[in-house]
Symmetry: C2
């Protein structure tokens, strides 16, 4: 076993296994965006990907397996939160990125949310992805604290600031299905930053 | 045509038509909460309601018609926003009511949101209902202004305050599928109230 390539599939980036996965996941994204998770079939994905059906079944098992992998793949992207120099700027940039992903038609992000209402596995994968993304974004609040933008007394709850800033964007577009409001990313970010500066998300000392 | 009752169904509250509607919509809510919109069928609803299948078909047409009517019925409830004497108190009470409707198992509210991802008619009915509810709640912000809780300069955007207060609760429970956080209703309400007091939702004079 000195040469793992002799016994395991080639999983190097750019290798055959990685290439097939990339083709299949691109097909899943395209099918999801076009026809939603209800139109997602193993056959449709295999055909679009130009990959043998048996390969797709063997590697992903079923449509739930495809959904989980496409969500996991989104978490593997080398993404970094914005770093604009101010809390308000960072939250605005983050919200603009979120709104863009939600209003683009067809939206892969919205299709995934719809799918996760119907697949417990997809829902769990999506929760993990969101958890990772919010954890990554906490640095935005940490940096604001380091710059002196937040109250010195009591640690600011980074997660609460991020939720306050971003949730109106999801709510407006995904749940209320309202027309996208180009002002909303900045307005929601500004409100969250002001609330943070006013101590709304600070753990009270001794409280 | 001097006596409309002679030629039209009896639509008085408590009349036969109203009674059948109440039975059918109660059955729709129960079926939705138990098995989601995917398990909703005209036959299942008729059986559970104890109403003749033909009546359900004639009056509601299809499952989409049932969904629209159950959403419209939610809008007919004589609901009033909380009036606790402070903006923070009102928003907290509103958020607690929202969280309660989302975390109860099975949740009719969550089942409706899932359904609206798959029925354009249900989605439109739900948007109308939400629009009405947010419009009804604007009085909460108006009263806060009258009590002097909001900046005197520049009108406060009531809708933006309400969205900022309520959206974290939906986001946390419905989209992130996180365990309900008993502190969240008050924390999100407090953050929105502080942001409003700090002028985050005020239209700038001349701006």
């Amino acid at each position: 076993m000195t040469d793992p390539k002799a016994t395991t599939p080639d999983r190097r980036p750019g290798g055959r296994t990685a290439r097939i996965r990339a083709q299949v996941l691109a097909a899943v994204r395209a099918e999801l965006a076009e026809s939603g998770h209800e139109g997602l079939t193993m056959e449709g994905v295999a055909t679009r990907a130009g990959v043998h059906r048996a390969t797709v079944y063997r590697r992903w098992g079923d449509v739930g397996g495809l959904l989980v992998d496409v969500i996991d793949a989104a978490g593997e992207i080398d993404w970094h939160p914005p770093d604009t120099g101010s809390l308000r700027g960072d939250l605005t940039a983050l919200n603009e990125e979120i709104q863009e992903s939600l209003v683009v038609r067809p939206s892969f992000a919205v299709a995934l949310m719809a799918a996760s209402f119907h697949s417990e596995r997809a829902a769990r994968a999506q929760s993990r992805l969101w958890e990772d993304r919010y954890a990554q974004c906490e640095i935005v609040v940490t940096r604001a604290g380091d710059r002196g933008e937040l109250p010195a007394a009591g640690r600011t709850d980074a997660r609460a600031v991020l939720m306050s800033a971003t949730s109106p964007v999801y709510h407006h577009v995904v749940l209320l299905r309202a027309d996208p409001d180009p002002q909303l990313p900045e307005r929601a970010a500004t409100a969250a930053a002001l609330a943070a500066e006013a101590g709304a998300f600070s753990a009270r000392v001794g409280g």
